[in-house]
Every structure is written in C-alpha cells, then in structure tokens.
C-alpha cells in the first residue's frame, strides 16, 4: 500500500509541477462548460443530461492525454529500469499510475461541480441523474484510464500511445451504440451492446444502477490493469 501511495504522489506531483495539469484542467472545464451551456438555455430545462451525453466524447481525447505518458515516458527515458529494479511489485507500480490518473480526473470533476451548483437555482434540479451521471463518469473514466495505461505500456512513443488509446476507446465506445448495432447481425447485437462502453454508461447516467453495468466496468478496469502487469512481466521472456 505504501509503495502505491509513494508512486501516486510522485505521479501527481509530476502532473502538477508542470503546466500540463493546469492546461488540461482549464481546457477540459472550459470546453465541457461551453458545450453544456451552449444549448442549455435553448432547451429550457434544468438538467445535466446533456453534460453527461457528451462527456464520453470529451473523455475520448482527454483521458488518453492523461495516460499517454504514464509508461511510454518512463520507457523512453529509461527510468522504468530504475523502478523495476526497486524492491516493489510490478502491480504496485501499475496501480499507482492508474490511481494517480484517476485522482487527477476526480480533480477535474470536482471543478465541474460548479455547473450543478450554478444551475440549481434556475429551476427544479433532479439530483438523482446527476449523482448517477457522476458515478457513471467515474467508472467510464476508470475504464478509459486502465486501457490508456495499458496502451502506454506497449509503446515508447507518447504520441503513438495517445492516438492508439483514442482509437481503441472510440471503437469500444461506438460498438454499443444503436447506430452500429443496426449493422450487426441480429444474434450479435446483445453481445455488441454488452461489449460497448457507451451503452453501460447511458444506463448509469440515466440513474439506473444495474449490477451488470458495475460488473462490466470493474472487470474492464481489472482486465486492463492485469494486462499491463503481465506486459511489464513479459520483459523477462523477450
């Protein structure tokens, strides 16, 4: 546990000691607020449904931007060799990196709470879907992060890691959407919609918390963290 904590601390200070964190947070908050308020007054409805509708699309760009450096940079600089010869488990390292990314995303969410606070006096705000929306967003971010960390561990090049993570999360997101499901043979639709990240998110964001969705997200996160650990261990066999 202590090792994980040490790694989280180092990762977070690497974010916050450089301009990356501040640029990231401001661009994320500005763009999400803009996208949200753009139609907010036209809709004439006090709800955050729209916010959670486009959040997955924003994540598609922002989460890979957080994870791209996690392992790729260490590999490129050679510092990974220092870390892997220290008396810590590979899994501590991976978990530390993943959790640091997660805490960073939580910080961004914390600032986004300005939106519900500022609109709650404009009318009857139903907090149920907002809580559900945030919960869904956490899980979604966790999934994207675990995938991004894994992709980053495959490459030495941050840009490659960024584009690849973005592409794969995009594919995983759209395969569950009705648009794609229309083109999929009938017997495969339920499989695809279960596999897609998006469909699970929509359920939770509506305020419906189903164990199947939770199981999906947790196994997704666990799977990619496990895969990252295995990938680090594979250096032994090459």
């Amino acid at each position: 546990m202590k090792n994980i904590y040490t790694i989280i601390k180092k990762e977070l200070s690497a974010y916050f000691n450089s301009p990356i964190a501040y640029i990231f947070l401001s661009v994320f908050l500005l763009s999400s607020a803009w996208l949200f308020f753009q139609n907010f007054f036209l809709n004439n409805q006090v709800s955050m449904r729209n916010y959670f509708y486009f959040l997955p699309w924003l994540f598609l760009i922002f989460i890979p931007a957080i994870t791209m450096r996690s392992f790729a940079e260490e590999k490129k600089n050679g510092t990974l060799e220092i870390l892997l010869t220290l008396p810590i488990k590979d899994s501590d390292l991976v978990l530390g990196k993943f959790l640091a990314g997660f805490i960073f995303v939580l910080t961004a969410f914390l600032f986004s709470l300005v939106i519900p606070v500022s609109i709650k006096n404009l009318g009857d705000l139903d907090f149920g879907p907002i809580i559900g929306g945030y919960l869904g967003a956490f899980l979604l971010a966790g999934s994207y992060l675990s995938l991004g960390v894994f992709i980053s561990s495959l490459s030495k090049n941050q840009i490659v890691a960024f584009i690849l993570s973005m592409f794969i999360t995009f594919v995983l997101f759209i395969i569950g959407t009705p648009f794609v499901l229309n083109f999929v043979p009938g017997f495969m639709t339920s499989f695809f919609s279960f596999l897609g990240i998006g469909s699970h998110f929509n359920n939770i964001a509506r305020g419906v918390i189903d164990t199947r969705d939770l199981v999906y997200y947790f196994s997704f996160i666990f799977f990619f963290i496990w895969l990252t650990v295995k990938n680090l261990e594979s250096r032994n066999y090459n």
Binding site: K2, N3, T6, I7, K10, S13, A14, N17, S18, N77, G78, T79, E81, I82, L83, L84, T85, L86, P87, I88, K89, R235, N236, Y237, N238
Partner: protein, 303 residues
C-alpha cells in the same frame, strides 16, 4: 546464465562469483553483453537459463528481498529531470522501504558520500553530467545495499570527475560487493580487485589486473635512447648474445636515436646492454623496460 533475445544468444553461458569487499570489473567492447548481464543481476530481466543468487537466495524466488540488497546505477543514468534532487532521493528511499524516521538521515548520508550538498535543492534537469552521475550513485547507495551494480559509472565525465567517481567506488568497495562495467582499461586496472573480460557473451579471461597482464607478458621490450653514431651503435648492439632484434624507434637529433630491443624469449639482457654502452662511451638518455600493457591483452582477447 544464458540469455537469448528472440533467437540470438546474447549471453552464451556466463558464470562467476563475487565476494564481499571485492570490486569486480566487467571489461569488454560495446555489445559484449555487459549491460545484459547487469540487467539480469538486478532483476530487470530474467535469464533464459541459469540464475542469480545473492547470499544463497535466488532472484527468481525472492525477488523483492533480493532487490532490496542491490543498488543499481543504470547505463546512461536516466533520471527524472523535472524532479528536485532531494525529492527524487526521497522517492527512491521510500520505494526501497526505508523507514520514515530514517529517511532524512539516509538521504543526508548519501548526500555527503556523493558530494551533493550544493545541488540537493536543484531540479535534476539543471545539473551537469558529473552531478547527475553522482545523483545516480547516491540513489544506488540509498538503503545501504550490500551489492552495488554500476553500469559504466564514469562514461561521459571529464577527467576530474572520473577520478572522483573512481575514488568513491574504491571507498565503497571496501565494505561492499561492487560489480562495475567499463571499457576503459586503465580504469579497470586501477579500481578493480578482479577483472572479467567479456566478448560476444562469453568470459574470455578473468583474474587480477596483474595476472592478466602477466599472462601475455612473455614479450618484453627494452627501449633505450643513446647518443652516439647510429651505425656503430647498431653493429655493437647486434653483437650482444641472447638478442632477438633491434630497430630504431625514433630520432631526436642527428646522433640521438631511440632503439627498441627485443631480447630472446625469457632472457634479460639489460646488464649486457648497459655494459656495451659504457664500453663505447656513449651516453644513455633514456632506458626502460616496456611490458605488454593490459590494453594489448584486451585487444588480443576481444578481437
């Protein structure tokens, strides 16, 4: 140990032992397998066959416990440039599971040992190469590991820095086991108690620097600089029995030449030579016995 990358055998069966208080030097041309061996010893990679044991415990089964006994300075010494020296050392100290109470004490110990007092509050990215190397060494020394693995610790440093780092290694080597790699022969000779010469993944020679030099020391040369008529000197020297050959190596002025004299194998002709010179009333300006250097041994073995 044997190590294969894909199907290429990088280490073809390397086996050796190092004792406490011994400084072992890995000598070999680039690409000989020095770094690979070190990466395996430190647990960064596993060997394809074979194993690493420290104090009788294998890396395979006790990875965490064994890694705690090793300090490692990697080749090219990668560091986090945007971290401060102090923060970096603290980060490593924590991951080496040094107790919180002892961390401060431990950092100031390595800070002194490596002479980092002036830069401890600077970002690593601003340090000169010499200081970076010291930070790398300080990081390896944290937690007082029994075994130190140093991969080319002096590469890229200026002569003064090299001397400093070497002295530091010698000092550390008194109580610990040090394995360090280099391709500078004089360095290995000066610092190491024992040298392994590695070529293409194999140990081709091992021994103390003296033993290695002695090994191909059959050929001794005598260099002598004489003031006197060249033809005369030549003909007189040639008369000496037990002489193999004589040739002119350099010329200082019209009647001052340097001669390289090869005696027959195992024979010492210095006395005869000097009496010949005395008899003829020439002046000796220089006189030395030239032994084959470690450099020659190295070049022969790794060609």
């Amino acid at each position: 140990m044997i190590k294969k990358y894909n199907d290429k055998e990088v280490l073809k069966g390397i086996s050796f032992e190092v004792k406490k208080g011994e400084i072992l030097g890995f000598l070999g041309p680039n690409g000989a397998g020095k770094t690979t061996t070190m990466k395996i010893i430190t647990g960064f990679m596993a060997p394809t066959k074979g194993k690493v044991e420290i104090d009788g415990k294998s890396m395979e089964k006790n990875a965490l416990r064994i890694k705690r006994k090793i300090g490692y300075l990697t080749e090219n010494n990668p560091l986090y440039d945007d971290m401060f020296v102090y923060d970096f050392l603290k980060f490593i100290a924590r991951l080496k599971q040094i107790k919180d109470k002892k961390i401060e004490e431990e950092i100031s110990r390595v800070e002194k040992a490596c002479g980092l007092e002036d830069v401890i509050l600077k970002p690593i990215g601003e340090l000169s190469k010499g200081f970076r190397q010291r930070v790398g060494l300080a990081q390896a020394l944290l937690g007082d590991p029994k075994v130190l693995i140093l991969d080319e610790p002096t590469s890229g440093l200026d002569p003064n820095q090299i001397v400093e780092i070497r002295n530091l290694i010698k000092k550390i080597g008194k109580e610990k086991t040090v394995i360090f790699s280099t391709h500078i022969l004089s360095e290995a000779k000066e610092v190491c108690d024992r040298i392994l010469i590695i070529r293409q993944g194999e140990i081709v020679a091992s021994g103390t620097p003296e033993e290695l030099t002695a090994k191909s020391n059959k050929e001794t040369l005598i260099y002598v600089k004489i003031k006197g008529n060249k033809e005369k000197v030549f003909s007189e020297i040639k008369k000496i029995s037990e002489l193999e050959k004589v040739k002119i190596k350099d010329k200082e002025s019209n009647d001052i030449y340097g001669y390289e004299i090869t005696p027959q194998e195992g024979k010492d002709i210095r006395e005869k030579l000097s009496s010949t010179i005395m008899k003829n009333d020439w002046s000796i300006l220089e006189f030395k016995k030239e032994e084959k250097s470690l450099e020659d041994v190295f070049r022969e073995l790794t060609k």
